[in-house]
Symmetry: D2
Amino acid sequence: MGSSFGTLFRVTTWGESHGSSVGVVVDGCPPRLSLCEEDIQKELDRRRPGQSSIVTQRRESDTVRILSGVLDGLTLGTPIAMEVPNEDARPRDYEELREKYRPSHADFTYDRKYGIRAWMGGGRASARETIGRVAGGAVARKWLAERFGVEIVAWVEKVHTQSVDVDPSTVTREQVESTPIRCPDPQAAERFIQRVEEARKNGDSVGGIVGCVVRNCPAGWGDPVFDKLEADLAKAMLSLPACKGFEVGSGFAGTDLTGLQHNDVFRSKDRRVYTPTNRSGGIQGGISNGMPIVFRVAFKPTATVLRPQDTVDVRGDETTLQGRGRHDPCVLPRAVPIVEAMAALVLADHALIQLAVEASAPHPTEAAWTP
Amino acid sequence: MGSSFGTLFRVTTWGESHGSSVGVVVDGCPPRLSLCEEDIQKELDRRRPGQSSIVTQRRESDTVRILSGVLDGLTLGTPIAMEVPNEDARPRDYEELREKYRPSHADFTYDRKYGIRAWMGGGRASARETIGRVAGGAVARKWLAERFGVEIVAWVEKVHTQSVDVDPSTVTREQVESTPIRCPDPQAAERFIQRVEEARKNGDSVGGIVGCVVRNCPAGWGDPVFDKLEADLAKAMLSLPACKGFEVGSGFAGTDLTGLQHNDVFRSKDRRVYTPTNRSGGIQGGISNGMPIVFRVAFKPTATVLRPQDTVDVRGDETTLQGRGRHDPCVLPRAVPIVEAMAALVLADHALIQLAVEASAPHPTEAAWTP
Amino acid sequence: MGSSFGTLFRVTTWGESHGSSVGVVVDGCPPRLSLCEEDIQKELDRRRPGQSSIVTQRRESDTVRILSGVLDGLTLGTPIAMEVPNEDARPRDYEELREKYRPSHADFTYDRKYGIRAWMGGGRASARETIGRVAGGAVARKWLAERFGVEIVAWVEKVHTQSVDVDPSTVTREQVESTPIRCPDPQAAERFIQRVEEARKNGDSVGGIVGCVVRNCPAGWGDPVFDKLEADLAKAMLSLPACKGFEVGSGFAGTDLTGLQHNDVFRSKDRRVYTPTNRSGGIQGGISNGMPIVFRVAFKPTATVLRPQDTVDVRGDETTLQGRGRHDPCVLPRAVPIVEAMAALVLADHALIQLAVEASAPHPTEAAWTP
Amino acid sequence: MGSSFGTLFRVTTWGESHGSSVGVVVDGCPPRLSLCEEDIQKELDRRRPGQSSIVTQRRESDTVRILSGVLDGLTLGTPIAMEVPNEDARPRDYEELREKYRPSHADFTYDRKYGIRAWMGGGRASARETIGRVAGGAVARKWLAERFGVEIVAWVEKVHTQSVDVDPSTVTREQVESTPIRCPDPQAAERFIQRVEEARKNGDSVGGIVGCVVRNCPAGWGDPVFDKLEADLAKAMLSLPACKGFEVGSGFAGTDLTGLQHNDVFRSKDRRVYTPTNRSGGIQGGISNGMPIVFRVAFKPTATVLRPQDTVDVRGDETTLQGRGRHDPCVLPRAVPIVEAMAALVLADHALIQLAVEASAPHPTEAAWTP
């Protein structure tokens, strides 16, 4: 259970790191969207290993194949299945893991839950599972861009103790992609990369924070009560490996303000309503208000470290595990496209629901707030 | 849409502040659980207005009635419907709101979404909706306690800029309930209350942070991938009114550590596996590991303030709104039972799923890690 | 579990015959639909006991109250909760049932499933549960009629061994309502009523078949694969108490034809495509084709009979049960509004989904088949 | 939407006849089930084309590959993805279909729904989609057999106007498989085959009825109200291509009986409760009662016929379509394993839910009705 996400725009991912391939089924994608493998591949290339010196050197081309749902370059409205073969499994690297639980990994909990686990590389807990998310998110993102002009940009804004301020209203994907760590500020990027390099040399790892903005999202997306837009975004982000926190708008720091300081007053210009400040993060009462949606996601330092650690074995005896092999000293640069993909999946789902609401009872045309 | 939560243990809430009542249907509650209205009422009493001088003075007894699903004090396994009448609606307080959008409330976004809104008191965005959550959560919590011995304790650990450290492994509900602000530390509680009183005198408001721990949760609850335990907790919390952030275990602060510092090494004692540290917050790979589940939730300062604020009216013209009436200068003490209720709902759902998994393929009895 | 139905237009029913009330929560109803209690009551009056001499004389006014989701006569888009009190429970009639299982009722299976059961009147298996369905269906039907002009008409076409042919393209609700047995043909109605009276005098019961047509349903509703329109209709009908069969279009009798005889050839007139025959029953490949949707539903004879029957008690000992009290010698006339309500729920759900599909990728305007 | 089925044991199918492959993702399969490709292949071989002279001669080996979810021959509890390549697409056979709608097929309705369709062979409406169902059902069936001893046997009991009585309590899969038409009665099989051959020679087609029994199903599976066991079976069957009707137990013919004739009285032997008759079809109030579950499914004659038929083209102009190529003159023998697969999927889902219910509140051990 739990491998599906979304109501009307729904993805189901499958695949473990040790198996022959990983993939995704996208159900509910609108028909007649222009779609080809290159649309997916360009997002996968931002996620794949080996793209720069600061990520894992595992060799995987991560080449996607569309198996269904597209005819003559157009989506059919039926499920789009996509598959990416596993090329570089190296199970011999994992022999020790058959017997020992890696600290702060999911080996122990999978065994507790299922009484069995894919000890060769983490199974479903492996970051390879996110390939399906990025592939599905690429479809969602393309539709959101073409149908509504929605832009989604994420970036790295903190690595270990180093951080930088990024302006969500102006940051571009080009700026983000211009540094290998995916920080739009070149000076900060250097500081970040230095931290990653230090960690790598020590066989250690670092975490950090990814920021994300969604621009041009129409007002009205999101449901009141349980399926609030920020609630679904929070679930989407906390479902990512290594994620430990989520905040929207003013977030945790907003608790330092009083209500009078925190409230976003409304203004209007040419009958268009806006808020000069955006501590709400573009969402009020669970529903988008037309301002940029802004949120931040915390990722812990990678659990895989290349140093000996105390642990227990499958019999419950204490032992020591020597980390080895290739690893990501910092997941942040590869997390950027994954965060964007998850945001796209949440938004596409709510966009479809809101299209149904609006078409079910066309808005009164005289309403002043109609754009 | 969006008024249901959960898969096997599912609640559906209904009701607006202006209507005759609010309520909840709990579907999937296990049969033969001893349950009476007093079990529900005691949790509702912790949430209701007027319980102390630092919360809203709106007068509501919030008396619950069980309408179905219980026979002779035992649950039947069929839906438990519960209703709480609205007593103190005072629609005259709201006349101005028919025309003007309150800043940082959901008035504007509801109008954008639906083309109509319950202008008398916020409708579904009113905190009265959480009555259904607390009532449903009381059922979940009782079952979790009786079936598994699960304990859920939340507390206020920050109000405005004041904060305190609380030890999640020892904090008790009695300590929490001993102060009106629901902070287990009496000195900190005084500081917190002072901030709330200051805000109240200024017609202003403050926010803060609620901490929560779940103890005695068996290992194995939670699903890999999208329905990770922390993902569902994050969704549950971000679905609460005024919530702006969620973090589990080491959270945002965990990004300041390296992997070697952050990892929770495993130890065992009498064949029982544990981690001396708990930066994972009791969850690894989306699945509980048997350690206490620890998380924190940020609430913004209440949007209702008793001071004039700039805004726009329903025609999009700029205007001024004079806040009036009764309000909560700080939602935190009343948020405590709501956070606990949402945690109980998430856990009860995953508990049922895991019962199915375990019964579907009984664990090998010889496994060393069996408790 | 299992008390909710629908994806975007979703109902959740609650309540047992012995409790204080029964009810429903309708989530996902479009906003700004004109709705009042009388809209619901008129459908409930067609379902309620005591409306004529051929149905149960149990005395219940079945008066509905709308608890939420409506403001000033318009729906808000938020959950509509509706409640109907139980007035005539007479638990003393049921004392024997505490110990003995009624044949062909759900007493035995509920005990097996839950280890407990509402022995006073059948609990959730009581036909009173369908009050919530009829109330929810009344909302769906009103929206379908106002938004699309959809008409739903059901009728009794067989009672015991007596039957009649009804033309689905012309039958009206007025004709159906003109006889107490809800058969649009007055002569057949007399034959049907005679069979019911005979059964009643013998303390026996009879079943029969309800036919139903949906007219003016646009083409394009329904999903391929698992959520085919006929699949959801079949589920809706088989979820009704006493239902034993469902067929659409040519149904079981269609197996007597060859493909050449059975196929519905297409014709067009004024660029409007239609099929002169309708053995498809208005659905092809799971999707409505614009022709009337026609289906039939079989109901077994009422299991409650006023004669002694062999059975077992809760200890598994063989015994005899003397049926007593009031009962419906034939559920068919009261099943008519319930069948219509379930059809309305299925259609409203698929209508909303199709509105999302159409708005997600506006159809090419040049298409010849655009209406 | 609509390509997923089930709650805890859930399948998601993908793929069109024209694409590179079809497949399924099975989520929620219990862990540690022994599973290999041969377990799946043997069921697919019963469904595949070309297996005998009376089914389509399309050449497809339908060889399955398990892509995930299995390690060393055991399931992991995580999604099992399976893929079957399309080998014999022959798109040139379909050129005429780019422009013309086949009568009683889904071409017209797909165009209406999506504004686009996979004209080369029916897309998702192609019977190739059922490969995923059979593969998923093979997994469900294996688990049901090993965990509970559940047996599922389906057979052909009517072809065109010819029919036969089959005893559901004794029929075996071996008997069914002993004739190419999958009728356990050899004489009837000959009559059936003759009808199919006649139809084939005429370029015509015939339909019929499949019967199915589930034996050794424990009492207690199925939910009251909307997710009744018979309701989910009805949905499962009506979701199959060409299905027009479903009945359980006494079905439509049961309406000829009175209540006293129809009721299944209870008896007990050695404290085991049973019903000497089984007009309930093994289900009472939506929940299995421990007797064999018996149902029947009607399939219309195949819509593809090799004769000219009137129709319209995509512009709405009337025209004639000459059927050509290979086709199934009768789907019934290939429908048998598909019906069994769908039954297995429904039962596995309800089995898991009931395992959760039972484990949530262990049944009182003293209960007399405990087997």
